[in-house]
Amino acid sequence: MASAPQLNIDHVAHLARLALSPEEKARYAQQLGDVLHHIEQLGKVDVTGVEPTAHAFPLVNVWAEDTPRPGLTAEAALRNAPAQRDHMVVVPKVVE
């Protein structure tokens, strides 16, 4: 099946912040083209006047009291950081 003409794999991969190899781009474009072709049949459903469902059981305004409670220590919160110094996460330079 042909890849869906509207799926610009470079654009979508950029939006998703995913570096893809040329082989991955070709493979995903073809596979996702098949999936999108399948999904086209949703266009046949009459959804006139139908409200969208975000959650199966509608939830609105779930409030919690704004009260302090114990949290993680800095050491525990940074336990999984790839690089750290002085209780901060180290990242590549972002400004010149």
Binding site: L18, L36, L42, G43, V50, H55, N80
Partner: protein, 488 residues
């Protein structure tokens, strides 16, 4: 041959512990020994903490000796799918992205199991970030089906199902976004329950698709599933989608609720693609319920043909958003080859995620992207409303719906390489997640080749007590749950 002790039900083990016929330490040692004997062939676990399990078992024995045992789970070894946090334990989601991650805190379900005295045992393999139907998408290698080691255990919670079937744990937890508890339960011949959305807290569960994800138990029997559900269910202020639902004593309710029930048979669930042996086993289950005095009614869920597409739009959209947090900055894999901060995102994600996760992120990003949101995501949310309405309409006439869990029994490792073919494994389970309903898979027979078959019962919202009673009514009349795979 008598079962190894680790293949007994929680109810049986509880009686043995209560009578001091065994200790919790002896039980933990038996589970560890069984795991050492079979794990090389099954590969259900990503990691195991033997000393931690033995220490928890010793604490359980001390409580029991002091007359302070905490109930039916005290001293029972329970495994967790590797997407559920347990403080101080690895949490990988079967992904290179989290290969070295250690949980800083307990998930609410983990904390509740500890409070109930359960002995937490092992981190169970799954499809990467719970995306898949075969556990072949794990970055740490596939899990084998204990009934036929050349076949998949189902997925995404394949390790949870296989470990239980192989006697490497006495109960396990999984997560179910589109069938990831029920389908592996069916393929491995155990009971698997996906609770109503909101009944069990998702706090500490690695998010895949937040409006669909739900944690639930795998167990040898319906009664055992009720025991574990009772321990983990209930409102949690740490999960804003958690409901203030009543949590009854599910085990006690099983004894009280005796039927007969009105069961609906949705005709859309018995169509093309259904394996003849699976279809025949489910037909026999229907005949059994009828013979027990249940009213069997044909019903229609007319939007069923649109479930798969609706699911793959909503689930991938939510996944692309949830997985945006894995950027190589604060935790998770960080590329060593990044040239600047933005390049760090691109390369860390490229190196950290596997093929199926990338596919779903791309699809999810696409359906949410400018110009396509209305055509895909918003339309899918509207069709979701119609799918949910189908179920609620059916429940005006029946107490529960009865269907196959999976259209096919366990398939061979590597057999389904086309993503779309794998997605079709979920056609009988995804509607339940879109509608937020509870559903359970119970063993209902074997194929001529000896592979387990699962029966799915779909209940009304928050009516788990009724659903489990209906499932147990079937289980009582059959001995499928007593059969064991030939691993010895």
């Amino acid at each position: 041959m008598a079962d190894p002790i680790s293949l007994k039900s929680i109810a049986e083990l509880g009686a043995l512990l209560e009578a001091k016929a065994i200790s919790a330490v002896e039980l933990a040692q038996a589970v560890i020994a069984r795991t050492q004997a079979v794990e090389g062939r099954v590969h259900a676990f990503n990691s195991r903490d033997e000393s931690g399990a033995l220490a928890a078992a010793a604490a359980s024995d001390a409580r029991r000796a002091a007359g302070q045992a905490r109930g039916p789970l005290d001293g029972i070894p329970v495994g967790l799918k590797d997407v559920i946090a347990a403080a101080g334990q690895p949490l990988t989601a079967s992904s290179r992205m989290l290969a070295n991650f250690v949980s800083p805190y307990d998930a609410t379900v983990t904390a509740r199991l500890k409070e109930a005295g359960a002995v937490l045992w092992g981190r169970l393999n799954c499809d990467e970030f719970a995306m898949g139907s075969s556990t072949e998408n794990s970055a740490f290698g596939p899990t084998a089906n204990p009934w036929d080691l050349a076949r998949v255990p189902g997925g995404s919670s394949g390790g949870s199902a296989a470990a239980l079937a192989a006697g490497e744990a006495c109960a396990t937890l999984g997560s179910d976004t589109g069938g990831s508890i029920r389908q592996p339960a069916a393929l491995c011949g155990v009971v698997g329950l996906k609770p109503t959305y909101g009944l069990v807290s998702r706090y500490g569960l690695i998010a895949f698709a937040s409006s669909l994800d739900q944690i639930g138990p795998f167990a040898r029997t319906v009664e055992d599933a009720a025991t574990v559900l009772g321990a983990i269910a209930g409102h949690d202020p740490l999960d804003s989608t958690s409901f203030h639902a009543e949590v009854p004593d599910y085990r006690a309710e099983l004894k009280r609720r005796t039927g007969p029930w009105r069961l609906g048979i949705p005709k859309e669930y018995f169509g093309e693609g259904l394996d003849p042996a699976v279809g025949a086993a489910v037909e026999q289950a229907i005949a059994y319920y009828r013979a027990q005095g249940c009213e069997i009614k044909p019903v229609s869920l007319p939007h069923t043909p649109y479930c798969l597409d609706t699911y793959y739009i909503i689930a991938t959209a939510e996944a692309s958003s949830n997985l945006a947090r894995f950027d190589g900055v604060r935790y998770g894999h960080r590329s060593k080859f990044a040239t600047d901060a933005v390049d760090l995102y691109f390369k860390s994600r490229a190196e950290g995620f596997g093929a199926e996760v990338k596919r779903r992120i791309i699809l999810g990003t696409y359906v949410l992207s400018s110009g396509y949101y209305d055509a895909y995501y918003l339309r899918a949310q509207k069709v979701r409303t119609l799918i949910r309405q189908d179920f609620l309409n059916a429940y005006r006439e029946v107490d529960a719906l009865l269907t196959p869990t999976s259209p096919v029994p366990a398939f061979k490792l590597g057999e389904k390489s086309d993503p779309l073919a794998l997605y079709l494994c979920d056609i009988y389970t995804i509607g339940v997640n879109l509608a937020g309903l509870p559903a359970v898979s119970v063993p209902c027979g074997f194929t001529p080749g000896g592979l387990p078959i699962g029966l799915q019962l779909i209940g009304q919202p928050f009516q788990e007590a009724n659903l489990l009673a209906i499932a147990q009514a079937y289980e009582r009349g059959h001995d499928w749950v007593l059969r064991r795979p030939a691993l010895d």
